[in-house]
Amino acid sequence: MISVTAWEWIGLFIGMLIGGLAEAWGISNPEVLIRLGRWKDRLFVGCIAIAIGAGALALYGLAALGVSFHWGIKPDYVWGVALGAAIFGTGIAISGYVPGTVWMALGEGRRDAVYAVLGGLLGAASWTLIYQTSFGQWLVTYDNFGQLYFGGKVDTDLYVGFGIAVAWAIIMFSIAYLLPRYKGGKSCAYTSLHKEKTLSPEEEAKYVETAGMLLEGASMPLGKNNLPEKVNYHWTVSSKLFGVVMMSVGIIIGLTVVLEMFLHQIFGESTTYSWIVAKIWLPAGTWKYSTLVVHTIGWEPFSDIGTLFGAFLASIFFTRRFQSFNNVIPPSWEKRFGNSQIKRAAGSFSGAFLMLLGARMADGCASGHILSGDLQMAVSSLEFFIIVMISLLIVAHIIYRKVVD
């Protein structure tokens, strides 16, 4: 059996790769996830689906061939995961962030990410306190079915697992192929069947508006006829999720997650918040959850620093969206709550608080559950993803229903 365990600091490179690519996608911008909640721009769903499909095929294919992995499948304690997912989705709708994109946004020099980090730390600390109580213990033990994937117990029946992974990948690729990125736009299936069709004026207007949203607040000129212009006006705004660029990025991210598991380390973004809390406030030894976190987190603090740094490097050299902490408010938030910096800071802080509380309660976030977990076909992660989406769509509808674009 092939088995490798990586040095912890190597996590910096893995984080940089993921942070840089995700910044280029634009998901470090909170407006992107708010628009997902409003069901106006489904970029996140399409790209994650490609990453999950490609990663699941690679993971179970290699595992069936005898390659050893560090499985990070989250236990399925049904009620705790469900409640955590509902709180997590609410937090995304308010803040526009998931734990990993907070780090990326900080690297991109976004001012509201500073408040989101603070809110996230308070959210993680709250779960460390709740975990100590009988309610916290009930959440993680009641109806806990352990580490399950679609084929049974983790790391068993891997040939069956590969067969399921093929079907799972077909479902994921179909979602990316059939789901139009923009509301009222065309799917990849439509555009590939109508190759003669050029972009309609409405589609061009959508591209331009999205590029403007992604570039808003940039502290440097973009320049002309260069790579950053191509990235911002053509690649990241494209509705062709099955185009070469979007597809390649999705596949690289999926394979990077598989590489982390092959290197026997942890893929995630939110445990680091609990780890920081354990180091500066609620120490291991006294607090049960802190004890659990500090002995199992692996290279995640390094990979999170890498995520932050990768997004920073991408925003300087590749997309030129570095904001230098300018005053920027996401357009949907501004139309709903006005341009008050204090209101946005409060929204960013409180949304991130809920988002991290929910992530730690469910034992994972968009990275640990939605990307890595669904790539591993974990039962708990599928439950988490479905409830997060329902919660996000409902809460975003309630908050932003009066917003007129």
Binding site: L199, Y233, I297, I305
Partner: protein, 91 residues
């Protein structure tokens, strides 16, 4: 592609002229090297699941310093410029 091209032109008219950024880019590249070296030297060949807090802290500190210095540099270089897609062009 007419709408996209005209939008690119409008943006070019709004934004300041690109100036030499060789200095800051060299700084960022050097700091990237220092950050990676710091993590490698302080963490070494440890491959367990309980990372050294001091190693993470010093690595993160260098990253934060790099980001803040870069922000100050760009704000100074382009006179607190911030791209506003809704602002009318200068011409």
């Amino acid at each position: 592609m007419e709408i996209i091209e005209s939008s690119e032109k409008q943006r070019e008219e709004k934004e300041p002229k690109c100036r030499s950024e060789a200095g800051i880019k060299a700084f960022v590249i050097v700091m990237t090297g220092i950050t990676i070296l710091t993590a490698a030297l302080t963490s070494g060949t440890y491959s367990g699941y309980d990372p050294n807090g001091y190693s993470v802290a010093i690595t993160g500190f260098f990253v934060i310093v790099t980001i803040i210095m870069t922000a100050v540099w760009y704000r100074t270089k382009y006179n607190n410029y911030a791209y506003d897609p809704h602002k009318k062009s200068k011409k």
